[in-house]
Symmetry: C2
Subunit: 326 residues, 2 copies
């Protein structure tokens, strides 16, 4: 007995959802559910295709109370730019949580992942950042821009500093953030002064060696590190993690495998179980205590975010997309 | 830059591929590649949704030399029949192996899985069964019928015996196999005499306690056990596995987790590493030695089969399906 499946393209999805305050609320509800304990979230399925400089990650999560669950496939093929193609692609599939039937296929080329990833940064800022006059952005890619926008939703900053390895790209990124937020934005040539002047820093790079050291930390700073999502990546020095007043994971089990926690534990630091962002949202773990603390949030990306955004999109589809009876 | 993605429904896929000798060759090539050692096949991602009596399995594999790789999602929701829906569903996605871009989405509701699963049974018969006069089929579902057809392609038997817990369903299954193969088929009420009269037996049940014991084995018998694909399932007694002259896995690492090998090792049997079906196809491991041996093949289902059938389908699409520019 065929059933109807909705197919949406990236262009159609861009018309339906964007990064806004409502999106932060949607993803926040997912994190809060994750803290509830009844979420089923298997470890990430990861496949390396070394021959073609590629990797594929698959994430999923069942969240009680959501009538669907998403499965998200994220291929990253790093020779693609040579062919004029983006490195990151992929799609998201929404299934009924009660029958397992496919409800929708979102051919988003990673757009929904970009949005839900940025939203997590906004939520981290909402719950962990102090008052922010100056924001620091490390990295100059899609997530640098989106994280700056998401942070602005939670902490509407006056000024934004951007650092990247390529000064021209940093300047362009700063200009784009200025246009999106209205903040005073400029590129800077060194990381240490960027951190020194900022109350909120987001790291968005694929770095494999730490960019932020313990010496750069100062009272009244929050850092969200969202670049590391593989065991070979790191943006924050282990000693910096240990020196913070509060270190928070999106999911402890994932951060220990592919986030900043991995590197810290490898050198014997951070042996205790840190709190998760969802627990702070739910009020079952303590967040920032006053404006002078140093806090760090480690985001590796969770299947719960995918399920949260996919069910949200499904509820707003209207008549968009192509219906296929399969 | 949007790219074209082909969407195919189950009905369209049924017109393109069926279970035939060519399909056995296609899946056999996948198994042979698996023996070559350069295949990348991550462990199955599995998620249980106990609240809705459901489970979701995700399989994938990269096979060098294939220009695409498949990712297959198989939800099984066992209360669905109460709603008039099939328990098993799902879809398969074909990606470019060089860029990671989505090439095609096969909304097959599990049809391609059914075909590639049956084909593996046919290949096991082709390489491991002796001469077959009588075939025995245990179980009365979709795979009982398909496995009987696949075995007939490799060993065109004269007679087929079918056992199931429900005699009426067994009779219907026997009638359907007779119609598909032309063999003399009948339902039988006990397993032991079925095995005693058969040279090839296929078990296709979700049994959680062994159906075939060591006492039932006899010279000149091959058994393909394809029902167990979860850690709670088993169809063959551990002592039977130990008593066979040759025990073969589709993939040792999977059979040890979710196949018959798991139960045998749990009671201390089968400590050595058995050969894989692909090694026997490739000639790097020894198969059946003469007509009197007892052989058993344990099939849990591999991502390589999915990649093999998906790339085969993609090559035969012609203009079928819906093209979406995403």
């Amino acid at each position: 007995m065929p059933h109807e499946i909705r197919i949406l393209t990236e262009a159609q999805l861009r018309e339906i959802v964007t990064l806004d305050g409502e999106m932060l609320d949607v993803i926040e509800a997912g994190f809060e559910a994750l803290a509830g304990g009844d979420v089923v979230m298997p470890p990430v399925l990861s496949m390396a295709i070394a021959e073609h400089h590629g990797e594929v990650d698959v994430k999923t999560a069942y969240v009680p109370g959501f009538d669907g669950f998403a499965l998200k496939v994220s291929p990253g093929f790093f020779d693609n730019p040579k062919l004029g193609l983006p490195s990151l692609n992929g799609l998201m599939i929404l299934f009924s949580a009660t029958t397992g039937l496919v409800r929708a296929v979102f051919l988003d080329n990673g757009y929904l992942t970009d949005i839900r990833t940025a939203a997590a940064g906004g939520i981290a800022a909402r719950h962990l950042a102090p008052k922010v006059d100056t924001m620091g952005v490390i990295g100059t890619g899609v997530q640098a821009r989106l994280q700056a926008r998401a942070a602005f939703l939670a902490r509407p900053y006056r000024r934004c500093l951007v650092w990247g390895r390529d000064p021209q790209r940093a300047a362009q990124c700063a200009a784009d953030i200025a246009e999106a937020t209205g903040a005073q934005c400029e590129a800077v040539s060194e990381i240490a002064p960027l951190v020194a002047q900022s109350q909120l820093v987001v790291t968005t790079t694929p770095a494999t060696a730490p960019l932020i050291t313990a010496e750069m930390l100062h009272p009244g700073l929050h850092i969200t590190a969202m670049g590391s999502d593989q065991s070979g990546k790191t943006e924050i020095a282990p000693q910096a993690l240990g020196a913070a007043d509060l270190y928070v994971c999106d999911r402890v089990s994932q951060c220990a495998l592919m986030g900043e926690l991995r590197g810290a534990r490898a050198v014997g630091l951070m042996p205790d179980t840190p709190p998760e962002l969802g627990e702070i949202i739910a009020g079952t773990a303590e967040g920032r205590q006053g404006g002078n603390q140093i806090t760090i949030c480690d985001l590796t990306g969770t299947g719960v975010q995918d399920t949260a955004i996919a069910t949200h999109v499904a509820a707003r589809l209207g008549t968009a997309g192509t219906v296929i009876s399969a």
